[in-house]
Each structure stands twice: as structure tokens, then as C-alpha cells.
């Protein structure tokens, strides 16, 4: 059997001592930066890319990939213990994970997150091997109208799924889209919203926005609260989840893995959308949705499985089409190009060692991560039991170094400070911040696909409903809006979230 032989071949590549070491370095660094808020895989991969110039392309990719999916594991630890998402993908884990920690159930939350991630990682790895090529063929049929409709659906869904006021969420998506415009217009070269500042001609850095609003803004907000919720003192004594926890988690993990894999293959949707969607699905399916937001283990299991499955499957469009589906994948693509490999459909046939070796290493890496995370959770917990008065200056320090290491630009540090203030003001006025970040990430791609669609359709906006795939996404978007805006749902939703 072809697949079997290919996987054997892949393991042969991945199990060489050098590649094993690079894999271990990757996942360890990944867990570390995932645990530490303010340093994400994007910045770390960019920072470590120069180191990989001297090693073989396979080893380089194995290590960089390890950082990426390793961070998904580590990110959940911080989300659960300090309510800080290191990345957008952990936002949903914060909601119930942190509540569980406050109730003294941090241990089971962490364990379910790691086990769910491992399961999703294993399935994700298998999926790349098994369904990568055929799925990529479907995605190959997508034109600009499909991409635009898909992103529209993703954004609308993400906005209405976010906690709090729906109109405010949608407004934040629009604000995010506007932020994404900053920089040089790819079509005309016009500088937009740059105020003549050269540092802004490439746009506002993703890390600047993410760290600014999520780390700095959050700290400013926390320091103003009189409630003692920020000091984490709960002891993680019982790590192992109860039988009931397992029973409740199996379904969400399976569904989360499925949703994550689905969203992972689609370019333009980040792991955050997969997390949002899977969280929403669980909330809808639950017999008692009011438990969500108050420490429901399903609310940890589903998004954690989803974001890890998504992270693995993001490699499918990158490896098979040469299409970066996210910022991290764009960096991976860059790393390949530096090695002299032109990414695209030919990679699978020209460099099978790269494709299959990477897949095999991902499974090995996921196994390493469970060993690294579960027994070592105690160590991370100790790291995070530092009192908040000392923890937040440390977060400030890591954030500053993380941002500065990307471009060595003091300007981006100033910009981060500004986004901290913006994030704080938005929080005070009841605006959710995750939708803004999503809008910001998807903005440039949406605009590009809208312009291209209109150009190829001769300026006819019906192009979005004349193509069946695109029509499906448009109908789904409208349905989501109608259902969520319906007065009955709206008032019930108010009860649940308010």
C-alpha cells in the first residue's frame, strides 16, 4: 500500500538522530513560548529562522513546525492558569479553563487540554498523510469569490459567537479590517494610513497588535480591578480528570478535532475560528448551555482539540499548494525558499523526504509533547504561581523582547504601548478584542479577494451568489446572522452571556 510505504519512509527520515534532536528542540521551545504570554510562535520562528540556514531543509522544517504546534500545547497552560491567551487560538480556552482553575480544577483542565491536543494532533497528522492530496484538490477549485465569501462567513461567525454585545463584536471586526489596511496597497503601491512613517509601510505587525491588546491592555485592566481574581493561588493537586470529566470530554474532543481539521484545510481561517466554532457547537449541543463560561470541561476540550487539529492541517495547503494559510505558514514557506526549494504541488514528488519526513516527525513531536507537558505541568504551575505583582512586570519584559526581536524596531515598541491603551479603552467600553484581531489578520486577504473577484466578474457583485460554493458560504453567513439576530435568540443569548 502506497500510504503505508510512504509513512514507513517518513518515519525512517524523522527517526534519524539529528532530526529527533531538532524535533525535541522545536517542541520544547514551542511549549516554553506557548506558556510564556507575549511571545508567540510567529516571533519565535522569525527569530530562530537564521539558525536554520545551516541545517538541512528537512531538519529546519521539523524544528520550526515543532515550535508551532508545541506552542498550541503550552498556550493552553497559560490560558487556563492566568487567563491570558498567548495567541488568539487560546482565547476560547480562557473562558472555561480559567473558571475551572478558579474552582480548583486546574489539574483536570490542563490534562484534558493536553490529551485532547494529542488526540487531535495524531488525527491531524494522519489526515495530512491520508486526505491531504484530495482535499487540496477541492481547495484548488476555490476562486477569489469563494475565498471572499468564506472569510466573510468566518468573520461574521466569529463576531456573533464572541461573548458580549453582538453589534460591538461586529464593529470590532470592522475596526480590525481597517487596521489590516495600514501599509502599502499591494495593487497600486499607495501608502495607506501610514502617516508617512516608513515602519508602517509593511503594515502593523501581528505581534504588535496581539501583544498590545491582549498582554499590555489586559494588565492595565487587571491592575485596576479591586477583585483579587488576578492572584493565582489555587493548588494544582489532582491532575487526573475524573471519570465524569472523561465522559464529558470525549464527544467535544472528537467534534473539535473534526472542525479543526475542516477549518485547518481552508486558507485564511486561523486556529481561532476553529476554536470559536467548536466552542459554539458544544454550547449549542449541551443539555445545559448555562454551564459554559462557568467552568465547563467541554469548553476546554473542544477548542483545544480544534486548535491543534487546525495547526496540523494548516500544513496541507502549504505543503501541497504552496499557499500560506496563516502568518506562521508564510514563515515556513520563506524558510523553504531560503533553502532553495520552490514550494508547490511538486514538493511531494520531488522531495518526498520533506513531505513524509515532516508528517512522521509531527506525530513523534506530539508524543514528545504529552510526555513533556503532563509530567512537567507541575513545573509550569510553579512558574505561574509567582504573585501577579511580579508576574506582570515579567510579562512586560518578555513582551518587549519578543516584539523588539522581530524587527529590532523601537517604533514597534511604542506602537505596542499604544495598542495597550487602545485595548484597555475597548475593554472598559465593553468591546470584545478577539474579533478585532481576526478582522485585522483577514483584512488584507479579504480586500485582495474582493478586488480580484470584482475584476474577473466585470464589476458584477452577483458573482458571489452565482457560484455554488461561494453561494453556500453566503447563505451560511446570512443564516448565522438571521438566527443570532432573531429577537428570541437574542434575549436568550443575553441571559446566557450577560
Amino acid at each position: 500500500m502506497d500510504l503505508f510505504n510512504n509513512l514507513i519512509f517518513g518515519f525512517g527520515v524523522a527517526i534519524s538522530l539529528q532530526n529527533l534532536i531538532y524535533c525535541l528542540i522545536g517542541v520544547t521551545v514551542g511549549t516554553l513560548i506557548g506558556v510564556l504570554p507575549g511571545i508567540g510562535p510567529l516571533g519565535t520562528i522569525a527569530m530562530l529562522m537564521p539558525i536554520t540556514y545551516s541545517v538541512s531543509p528537512v531538519s529546519a522544517l521539523i524544528m520550526l513546525a515543532g515550535i508551532y504546534y508545541g506552542a498550541q500545547y503550552g498556550g493552553s497552560t497559560t490560558a487556563i492558569l492566568v487567563n491570558l491567551p498567548g495567541e488568539t487560538s487560546a482565547v476560547m480556552t480562557c473562558i472555561d479553563g480559567y473558571q475551572m482553575a478558579r474552582q480548583g480544577r486546574a489539574g483536570p483542565a490542563l490534562a484534558i487540554a493536553a490529551l485532547g491536543s494529542f488526540f487531535a494532533g495524531t488525527v491531524g497528522t494522519l489526515l495530512i498523510a491520508l486526505a491531504g492530496p484530495p482535499l487540496a484538490e477541492v481547495a484548488l477549485k476555490f476562486g477569489s469569490p469563494e475565498y471572499f465569501s468564506l472569510m466573510l462567513m468566518g468573520l461574521v461567525a466569529a463576531a456573533v459567537l464572541a461573548q458580549g454585545d453582538m453589534v460591538k463584536s461586529l464593529a470590532m471586526v470592522v475596526l480590525g479590517l481597517l487596521l489590516g489596511i495600514v501599509g502599502t496597497d499591494v495593487n497600486t503601491g499607495v501608502q495607506r494610513f501610514t502617516f508617512g512613517v516608513t515602519e508602517l509601510s509593511d503594515g502593523i505587525g501581528f505581534i504588535v497588535v496581539a501583544v498590545g491588546v491582549f498582554a499590555i491592555g489586559e494588565i492595565i485592566n487587571n491592575l485596576g480591578e479591586t477583585e483579587e481574581r488576578r492572584v493565582f493561588t489555587a493548588k494544582v493537586t489532582n491532575l487526573w480528570p475524573t471519570r465524569d470529566d472523561f465522559k464529558r470530554s470525549i464527544g467535544p474532543i472528537l467534534r473539535g478535532t473534526g472542525l479543526g481539521a475542516f477549518f485547518g484545510v481552508l486558507p485564511g481561517t486561523g486556529p481561532a475560528i476553529a476554536s470559536f466554532a467548536s466552542y459554539m457547537v458544544e454550547k449549542k449541543l449541551a443539555a445545559d448551555p448555562s454551564r459554559f463560561g462557568k467552568g465547563a470541561i467541554e469548553g476546554v476540550a473542544a477548542p483545544e482539540a480544534a486548535n491543534n487539529a487546525d495547526a496540523q492541517c494548516k500544513f496541507i495547503p502549504m505543503l501541497t499548494l504552496g499557499l500560506p494559510a496563516s502568518g506562521v505558514m508564510a514563515l515556513m514557506l520563506g524558510a523553504l525558499q531560503i533553502q532553495g526549494i520552490q514550494p508547490g504541488p511538486e514538493v511531494m514528488t520531488l522531495r518526498p523526504d520533506l513531505f513524509w519526513g515532516l508528517i512522521a516527525s509531527m506525530w513523534i513531536g506530539n508524543a514528545m509533547l504529552v510526555v513533556l507537558n503532563l509530567p512537567l505541568i507541575g513545573l509550569w504551575v510553579k512558574l505561574l504561581q509567582v504573585p501577579y505583582r511580579l508576574l506582570f512586570p515579567a510579562i512586560m519584559a518578555f513582551s518587549a523582547i519578543g516584539i523588539y526581536s522581530v524587527n529590532s524596531s523601537a517604533f514597534e515598541i511604542y506602537l505596542t504601548a499604544l495598542f495597550g491603551v487602545i485595548g484597555f479603552v475597548c475593554m472598559r467600553l465593553g468591546f470584545p478584542l478577539a474579533p478585532m484581531l481576526l478582522g485585522y489578520v483577514l483584512g488584507p486577504m479579504m480586500e485582495e479577494n474582493l478586488r480580484r473577484s470584482m475584476l474577473t466578474a466585470g464589476g458584477d457583485p452577483t458573482v458571489f451568489v452565482r457560484r455554488p460554493l461561494s453561494l453556500t458560504f453566503v447563505i451560511a453567513t446570512v443564516l448565522i446572522l438571521i438566527v443570532m439576530l432573531a429577537p428570541a435568540v437574542r434575549s436568550r443569548r443575553g441571559e446566557i452571556t450577560g
Binding site: 461586529l170 494610513f193 491592575l223 506582570f392 512586560m396 518578555f398 523588539y404 523601537a410 472598559r428
Partner: protein, 151 residues
């Protein structure tokens, strides 16, 4: 007519959105708008800016009728000190080097907390700066001089 609305949460939420939308439209006024067929660089920003103003008006209108006030405590101290510490870090790392920038950032931001303890924070700043120097400058090889004057 009372000035009650000045304390209403969604009054300010709406004002913020309208201001942001208006700013976007104002800044985009010179970018070519183009047509639906050939969208210029101004098309997307203007449409989004207008959308933002609409959202703002809606939130403002409902906000004036709601009774939700701006409540809860917040720390002006943190709002000033934390961004300021970052700005100082940015300025110092280019002029004075990694070590002074880190010390000022860590010690400075720690003063934003009401639980600030001088000696503890001082020791912590030194410890964390040394740790970061070891990890980021030595182990990871970030090319930042520890003290700018020495180089």
C-alpha cells in the same frame, strides 16, 4: 437636559466608533476610490469607515436610552506607567543597551501595582534582567549589546 449621558458606557462606545470611522474616511479621502469593477486603494477603507460610523450611531442611540453606566474601578496609575515603561524601554535599548532598558522596564512597570515593594522589585528586576540576558542574548544570540557604551 442633564449631563447624565456623559457617564453612560455606550455613549462613549458609540463616540469612539464614530471617531474611528470618521478618521478612517478622512485619511482615505485622497486615495482613489475607483469603481466596483476596478476598486481603488480607497474603496475598502471608505466603505469600512462608513460601516464603523453606522455601527457607532446605532450603539450611541441605544446607549443613550440604556441605563448602563461606566462603572468599576480602574487604575490611572497603570494606564500611565505601563505604556510609559514600554516607551522608555524602546528608547533605552537603542541608546543605552539591553541591561539598562530591561531594568527600567521591569522596575518601572512594577511600580504600577499598588502592592509595589521596593526591595523585592529591585531584586526581582536584577534577577530577571540577568536571566533574560543569559537566555536571549547569550543562548539565543540576539544581537543586542548589554551596555551600549561598552561597544
Amino acid at each position: 437636559m442633564t449631563l447624565d449621558f456623559l457617564y453612560k458606557k455606550d455613549f462613549w462606545a458609540g463616540v469612539m466608533l464614530i471617531a474611528a470611522g470618521a478618521l478612517a474616511m478622512f485619511l482615505a479621502r485622497n486615495y482613489t476610490f475607483g469603481t466596483a469593477l476596478r476598486m481603488g486603494p480607497g474603496y475598502f477603507p471608505v466603505v469600512l469607515g462608513a460601516l464603523l460610523i453606522l455601527f457607532g450611531l446605532y450603539i450611541l442611540a441605544t446607549g443613550l436610552r440604556s441605563s448602563e453606566m461606566l462603572t468599576g474601578s480602574w487604575s490611572l496609575r497603570a494606564l500611565i506607567i505601563l505604556p510609559l515603561s514600554l516607551v522608555l524601554f524602546g528608547a533605552l535599548i537603542e541608546s543605552a543597551g539591553f541591561v539598562p532598558a530591561m531594568l527600567v522596564l521591569i522596575f518601572g512597570s512594577a511600580t504600577a501595582s499598588t502592592e509595589f515593594r521596593f526591595l523585592e522589585v529591585l531584586l526581582f528586576s536584577v534577577f530577571l534582567t540577568a536571566l533574560c540576558a543569559a537566555v536571549f542574548v547569550y543562548a539565543l544570540g540576539l544581537p543586542y549589546p548589554l551596555f551600549a557604551d561598552l561597544f
